[in-house]
Symmetry: D4
């Protein structure tokens, strides 16, 4: 962020977009007493600077039949395979997050499945990737917090 | 989802919103050869049914100075304190995800921090919550995948 | 169970069979003030629906010289071998239960043996199956509870 | 078993009862070319000697809505509480098996639940027992083997 | 021990030999008011029955420059190699005890060494045996109890 | 051993005593072509120097009904209690060896028991000592090596 | 380092000091074809900027009777005690390094001791600090690399 | 240290050099009321005896952009490769310390890196060495103690 400096107006625009990505620019403009064009220009700038990378829909996975969440730790035979394995993992849509991590695992994934049976199938997909040596699974009994908005607001209040 | 049945049109609307939550309804309407009003009614319905719960901005945390991600496993003194501890955790904005889990941890969190020093402060905040007995941290060296869109598209293709 | 609906009479029949699988249908009939034929028809129906899958004798293994119980966690070289290994395990009669599990083990077995020496032989049989990488054993010092009847009654009271 | 000696006829009777606990004694008698009374007397003797302790129904738990199986390892604050904790555990019908074990756990339980949510409730019941210090759960993705009959036949063939 | 029955005199003889294997039979005879020949005959009998297998000197290893004790857990590549590996281990004189064990290790050894450097060499000897996959070492900071005599006396008092 | 120097004759005497603690001094004298008095004096000297601490009988524990061996790792609440706990442990005759160790355990014990039931009682005795926080048990399936003589001979050959 | 910029001459001075902290400034001056005063001024500047914090003697610990190195992981009862415990640890001179760490330990220390006995005493000192819950020790069998000079040269070559 | 005896004057010289390796010998001489030549001779002697092996600069790694410290445990495929792997490790300047250790790791390293990304690269360098089977990383959140001077003073006070 060295090159790009967000000012107070940017923060307020971001604060509103964080709460509702679909808010019309005219609404933002009205609240901030600036023109919709200004909002448009500033959002564009933040997109071009790569600060805003996009937006994502928040669906109710349970209502869609995907109530099963698990974390899967992956052990590789050799970390030189990390890149290759991650490419293969990225072809499994049920893996929504994957990290290269310190500690006992080489790669750590979050998966969403329909139920135990489905989870087993996904874990087996991971196990069957060349270079994967073993996996270890930890099952979520309840997703109690899943909220990036609090963090986003905090970041902009700090800046 | 027993009560609410999504049809092909709903799926196509969702597919477009998943890719870009800010897409104007008129654009969706044009592509699907239906009226913007219909799009509006259907999105509203899916929101009322609780399938669409909202949307969230995707920011570049690195550019915002938050390049440090860690997973923190929390051991409780007693699981009867789970609810209380989760409430306290939800007051720490740097914790973006928290799960009640099986396996060795009682609660499993994802945190975002500025750097090692900041991470230490956040871990200490967690450690200092009454009822937290011990924590164990696993640090992300690289967030290789963070993408719910592939899953969302898969879900709607399956339905 | 979507297709097949158990009613109050079914529950009462099941409750009696759970306590004593050898109870004559005439005894059940007398207690429920229905005909033995009705009992017969209903049990048959529950068998055809697959709810009742059979019955098993409860023997005193200690009196038969089998006082040693252990749980054996099996690590596979590759989970693609799971099915094959389970087939081989199912040929060892001393393994009475086997699960595909999350966590550190791929397969988790319960074994009954005569003594330490016999247990060693059974563990070695498991270790020698192609595709088994390692096993880890946890020995039962006392089987304090082994009772499915409480659960069965609970299920039928809940329905 | 020092005092009570099973002979070949006893073994054959047991072999038939193992396969079907509800088989009429007249059927056993016919197959073994002995009188039904003899069958009755011998079964009675084996019951009195405590070799046959009863029989249990085999239900299809999945069809009854109980498709979730987990193993829960229980750590006690002090093993002097073992007896007390086991009594409390025996009041939870969802725990079908419990062992005092060597290794890292003090008590090791098998539970059957409806789903993840229900499992969480049962695990919390265990966690909330006085003297329970912590629990660790391993979830079954598939119950591949659950069959005591093979063992029983083996025992009687060995004798 | 089914065939051989020890009587009170045998116990008393053993009790004295346990305390001092070099005690002359005439001393034992005098104390028990029996003849030295009787002592001789009874000890011979217990040796022939295999109850007494021999005797061993108790040396002060520290004074002899062997003050370093460690326990080494050995993981095998495959338990079918257990016998072979144990034969190789038995050629390393610094391994005084080795067990086939349950739990995480396949073989568990006790070693005595001169110091850290020497221990390293012994551990490397173990590591270099064909079929040994990995070892894990736990070092003794103090040998607080090493006394079989208490157990031996207890056994004979119980008999 | 700085003060006391063993010479070749001492080594040869020790070598014979290691093999058979009951060998008469006259036999040793004959083999070494020295007087029995010399043997006596030298053994006495080694006893006074504390090199020879005594001797112990080697019994066949299996024949005596003690076929069960286990290693028990003890966790203390606080290591300041180490001394006290070791005193209490030394009152349990079934514990034949106990070490203060590095690694995960504070104290590491070897126990000999009659069978699983007896082992459970002994483990509970350990668990019930004040200051003992938890224990973890590893069971021996076979005592493959238990031989200090090889080491002793090696030591004297090295000196 | 934002404020203070090292130039090529600084690097060359540092390179020489890294190899030999006692090198006279006149020697450095001669090699770099600058005046000793310049060397003095630049070293002073780097000291004032805090880049050079001092120097330390490299002793042969083995020759001084300190051949035993161990890493001790410390678990705290509560991380709010971290600061207090670190102050107490810093009073034990045998602890040469201590870190607050992620993973299973709260604090991770390096200790140097004379031998096993001495190590035990040091570990007990750590265990006896208020707030320390447990420690786990890993012993060094050989210090194969202990060399910061390679890193220092690398840093200055990179700058 | 058997051959070389340090006297009180040596200790005092060492005490001063420990605090400041660059202290001129004339300063030491003045404080100890001896000639600078004597200081020179004695330091030379201690260097020749190998007690003083050199000196090292203490830099502020944070100011130099190296604020990230981690401990990396290395598992080898076979310990016969230890020497070879250590040679390869010694070519990575970011590894400042490496030990052959007991416990779960074969080799245990300390690394210094610029940040998480850099640490990942270094860990991958370690992982990619032939013979390295797996690594496990523990990250330092704060280097609270790094001070050999206290130990050095203690050693000389003890002598």
């Amino acid at each position: 962020m060295a090159k790009f400096k967000l000012d107070e107006i940017d923060h307020q625009i971001l604060d509103m977009l964080i709460d509702n990505t679909r808010i019309p620019f005219t609404d933002i403009a009205k609240k901030l007493l600036i023109s919709a064009g200004t909002v448009h220009v500033r959002v564009k700038k933040m997109e071009e600077a790569g600060i805003i990378k996009g937006s994502s829909l928040t669906l109710d996975y349970k209502k869609l039949g995907y109530s099963f969440i698990a974390y899967v730790g992956v052990f590789l035979q050799n970390t030189s395979q990390t890149k290759f394995v991650l490419e293969r993992i990225s072809q499994i849509p049920y893996v929504t997050v994957a990290h290269i991590t310190t500690g006992k695992f080489n790669i750590f994934c979050k998966i969403r499945a329909k139920d135990t049976m489905h989870a087993k199938d996904i874990i087996f997909m991971l196990d069957d990737i060349d270079g994967v040596y073993r996996t270890e699974t930890m099952i979520s009994l309840e997703e109690s917090i899943n909220d990036k908005k609090r963090l986003m607001h905090t970041i902009f209040n700090e800046l």
